[in-house]
Point group: C2
Chain length 230, copies 2
Amino acid sequence: MSTRNAIELAVSTVIFALRPEGEEAVLSIPLVRRTRDPFAGRWALPGGAAEPAESLAETAARKLFETTALRPAYLEQLYAFGDPDRSPTGRVVSVVYWALVRTELADEGVEDDNVRWFAADDLPDLAFDHNLIVRYALWRLRTKMEYSRIAHALLGETFTLAELRRVHEIVLEKPLDPANFRRHIEASGVLVDTGETVPGGRHRPPRLYRYDTTLQLADNGPLTPPKEPQ
Amino acid sequence: MSTRNAIELAVSTVIFALRPEGEEAVLSIPLVRRTRDPFAGRWALPGGAAEPAESLAETAARKLFETTALRPAYLEQLYAFGDPDRSPTGRVVSVVYWALVRTELADEGVEDDNVRWFAADDLPDLAFDHNLIVRYALWRLRTKMEYSRIAHALLGETFTLAELRRVHEIVLEKPLDPANFRRHIEASGVLVDTGETVPGGRHRPPRLYRYDTTLQLADNGPLTPPKEPQ
DNA sequence: CCAAAAGTGTTGACGGTACACCCATGC
DNA sequence: GCATGGGTGTACCGTCAACACTTTTGG
């Protein structure tokens, strides 16, 4: 029980945001450049050693903040990766989280030579098994968006149905019928009409909605969603 | 990176099997009695420290074998539990797996004063946060059985549709229409008719089926199911 | 008035549930 | 034959995708 532990425990996070790219928004992920071996110079997921005083989710959120200056709107554990040969320098088990951050804030984050946003479906060769990890995180995001109501975590406080629909379309990579999307969302009862509308377009002004914050974003069964430090 | 790690890494497994209880089969879990503090004398999930030379899944399967003398028919990672206060003696992060083992073999396992099978829905107060872990594993098992084809992992090589249906009924705790269950399973295409039937009943003899072993039991996206040591 | 997107109505295909009914065996 | 569970047929109902249609704005 109390023998010396030869296994390193790390926490990493796959962070998703929508970032403007020309006219459209693109699903993006921030990566950090490794400054040390192994994989010096390669891009990798933000993360680091687990901290004895913090919960795993707190460590994930803190690392997220340290690299992007952002707080996650949604944070969920993805998987514990622990193959013996995933790091060439010794045994490392990584508990990986995935997070959604708000579009409107994603620009304010730090970005320099060692931190950069990449399009989620066009990543370079990453360090360790991080390409696999991102692929799995993308799969989870897409799967969860089909049956859960987490899309608003990529938007701001208030939004129109068209904006919310665009989020679904970008993430799922397929067009959605506006009429059916509206009914689908309305039936789920997660939206609150703010009463306001957005004028300015050459068309009927859309209503502004807000999420019902008393509801859980996703059903994780008996596991309460991890508390995020404020 | 290579500083001394103050966090212990453990691997535990929630093992499910159907065990006869009077006339009926009951969803059961083997537990081990702790011989040391903390929680000496209390029942706990089988597990132990992670082993540098093994993958996490291998460690889970080995611990499973050491306590029950069984090999898992299905093994999947459940969650990494890492709250700072989940162990009173220091920080322990447990990567928990859940497993299904075959009914026909579940009797052969070791059972003594320190290893015992309990009904999954009637457990005592367990050590650490193991009651929560089992609750979550049960939720995952039930959720997964509704959309996946893992039930056969609780049965033997061959089985009748009625036996497979009973597995679903016991796990999901609700009766299922035999006619619709048949169509549902047949449509999924996972069953192979062995051509044999089972005589002896005072009724039309049911056919024996076998699972199509070329198919994956469950869709875990880009993550290939963990290899089990044979 | 026209263009464009918001928002509503309607229809038809599909999948699941409920349940009536026939089949094959032991006694 | 009759009881019993195996196995088939079918009708109903709710959900969802497709798409026609109306509404409200800016120009």
